[in-house]
Each structure stands twice: as structure tokens, then as C-alpha cells.
Amino acid sequence: MAAGSTYTPIATQTASGSVSQILFTSIPQTYTDLILVIQATESGQDGMDVQVGNGSIDTGNNYSNTYLRGNGSSAVSYRTSNYYSFDTGIVNTTVDTIIVQLQNYSNTTTYKSMLSRSSSTASALAVAGTWRNTVAINQISIKNGSVVNHGAGSTFTLYGIAAA
């Protein structure tokens, strides 16, 4: 069996002030999976929208999500079809933690799949998502709806995992 170190940091960003969008571009195609680790505070409660693309970010209704959420009193499941993003978490003004997995992100045969787990005072949430496109992902955008910003000190780190 071959063995080699992986789980490599590709890029990291820390919001120096209130920003509307974090953008990772020119993501190398040399890994098998991507892991995006977010620890953020936001200016209000909203969904954490992760959008992807190749050469440009796809903001069309080409995403869909299935959710499993606990809100402190009950567990629910729901769905968003023909949606405009991977809807990875529900964030608010307290510290929110989200881990997003994009598996086989660079293949050009299948639609792209996303798994996320998030936690905040708004909810504990797991999401499975699909982006209906077979192109390789080389850009990722992270934003919150239209009026909520990432707060100063929010961190966004992108890792790559390479299979043997």
C-alpha cells in the first residue's frame, strides 16, 4: 500500500473587516477532495451560501440541498431544489463553525457533491448538496444572502486531500 501525507492547506483568509464575499480562485486540480473550514461571525442570521464554478462562479439555480437540522427543540428535514447555492449552514452573530466537503471536485464526469456540517446558536445542521455540472471546480465563493456580511476576524481555510 502506498502512503503519503496529505490534507494540505491550499489557502486561508481572515476577514480584516466586514466583507460581503470570500473568493477562492485558481484552485489547483491536483487533489481528490476539498475541505473548507469556516469559523465566522456574521452581521445577522442567514444561510451560508457556497457557490462554485470553473473560471467564474455559477450563481444560477443549478444547486439543490437536502437538510437535517436540530434547532434545540426538534429535528427536521427539508429540501431546496433548483437553488442558487450550496446552502451549507445557518449563521448568525455568534461564532459559527462550518465544515464543507467537496468530493472528487476536479473530475469532469459526474455532478459535484457537497456534504456539510455546521453548528451555531441557530442550529446543528447537516446538508447534502449537488451542483448539476460536470466541469471541474476551480473557484469557490462564500457569502450570506444579500445583506449579511462576514464579520472581522472570520476565518476561511481551504484544504486539499489527495488520494494515493
Binding site: M1, A2, I10, I22, L23, F24, V76, Y78, L115
Partner: protein
């Protein structure tokens, strides 16, 4: 305003991670594969992670279930407890079985729909206690889908040296399915 990323390699004293290693990977070819096995797994790590990206060959059914065993043990020595969402309701169930359950997997729901899953196998080489795993798996097909959060127990103190993955009902995994085994070092 948006801000752009900084390549990690350009950061002074950039992060170094060497505790997570790729051990082996299987990518399914054009003929498909009925089972996936990782054998002779070294005992030199603290934990294992299996990362799955797969599609089932199960004609006439949208989905199937992914299951796995350790060390070729097919006796009723596994516990499965899961929390599942199907897009309209959350549910939970559990019990014992002859294999570990690893969630719903896409089958005939769509040619391009594959299912990601991550299985964490903790303290797998320990010979003093039963083994425990956790899985996050999900598939969404724009109008249908599932997400699963799963606990599996294996009632054995043997070190895990073989992991075998297969489908509960379908004939095998389709082309482009991939299964990657990683080791995580301890201090």
C-alpha cells in the same frame, strides 16, 4: 467587497500538516465492482478515515444502501444507530446487524449523481475495546435525496486489518466510483 485568497505556500511559516496520510485508493473501472476491499491495513495509525464517492448499480431503484464489514466478520456483531433526513422528515432507528450501515447511496436516480460519504474509524488497532465508527453521508438529486448521520459499533476487540464495502441490494458499484483509505497519526 470580496477579498481574494492567499496561497498557503505564500504565507510566512505556512501551515504544515503531516498527520493525515493516504494509504490506498480504489477507483472502479468500466466493468463495475461488486465489492471493495482494503486488506493488510497497517496498524501504525491512530484512526482511519474512508472517503467514498460512489454510485450503485441497482436497476429500477433510485437508491441503495452502502454497508461494510471488518475483518470479513459477517456475524451479527454490528450495531447501527442513525439519524436520517429525507427532505421532508427526520427519523432515527437502530439495532444490531451482520454488517455496518453507511447510509443511502445513489443508484438509478441519475447518471451523474454520485454519493459522498466519510467514515471515521476510531482507535482501530486497539485490542482492548470494541470498535466504534461514525459516518456522514448524503445524496441530493434535486427533488429527492437523503442525509445520514450514523454510529456503528463492532463488537470485537480485534485490530481492524480488512475493510470490505458493498451494497445491500444492488449488483455492484458503477464506473467512476472511488474509495480512499486514509490513516491519521496519534501523538
Amino acid at each position: 467587497m470580496p477579498i481574494l485568497g492567499v496561497l498557503a505556500s505564500a504565507i510566512t511559516g505556512n501551515l504544515v500538516t503531516n498527520a493525515y496520510e493516504s494509504i490506498a485508493t480504489v477507483t472502479v473501472g468500466s466493468g463495475g465492482s461488486s465489492t471493495i476491499s482494503f486488506t493488510s491495513i497497517p496498524s501504525t495509525y491512530k484512526h482511519l478515515q474512508v472517503r467514498v464517492f460512489a454510485q450503485a448499480n441497482r436497476a429500477g431503484y433510485d437508491f441503495d444502501n452502502l454497508i461494510y464489514t471488518f475483518n470479513n466478520d459477517t456475524s451479527v456483531n454490528y450495531a447501527n444507530y442513525f439519524l436520517q433526513g429525507n427532505g421532508s422528515a427526520a427519523s432515527s432507528a437502530g439495532g444490531t446487524d451482520s454488517s455496518a450501515y453507511s447510509g443511502t447511496i445513489a443508484a438509478s436516480i441519475g447518471t451523474n449523481i454520485f454519493t459522498p460519504s466519510t467514515i471515521d474509524i476510531l482507535d482501530y488497532a486497539n485490542t482492548s475495546k470494541y470498535k466504534a465508527t461514525r459516518t456522514l453521508a448524503g445524496v441530493d438529486a434535486n427533488g429527492s435525496g437523503y442525509i445520514n448521520f450514523i454510529y456503528n459499533g463492532w463488537f470485537s476487540t480485534s485490530a481492524i486489518t480488512t475493510i470490505t464495502l458493498k451494497l445491500q441490494s444492488g449488483t455492484g458499484f458503477n464506473q467512476y466510483s472511488s474509495f480512499a483509505l486514509y490513516g491519521i497519526k496519534g501523538a
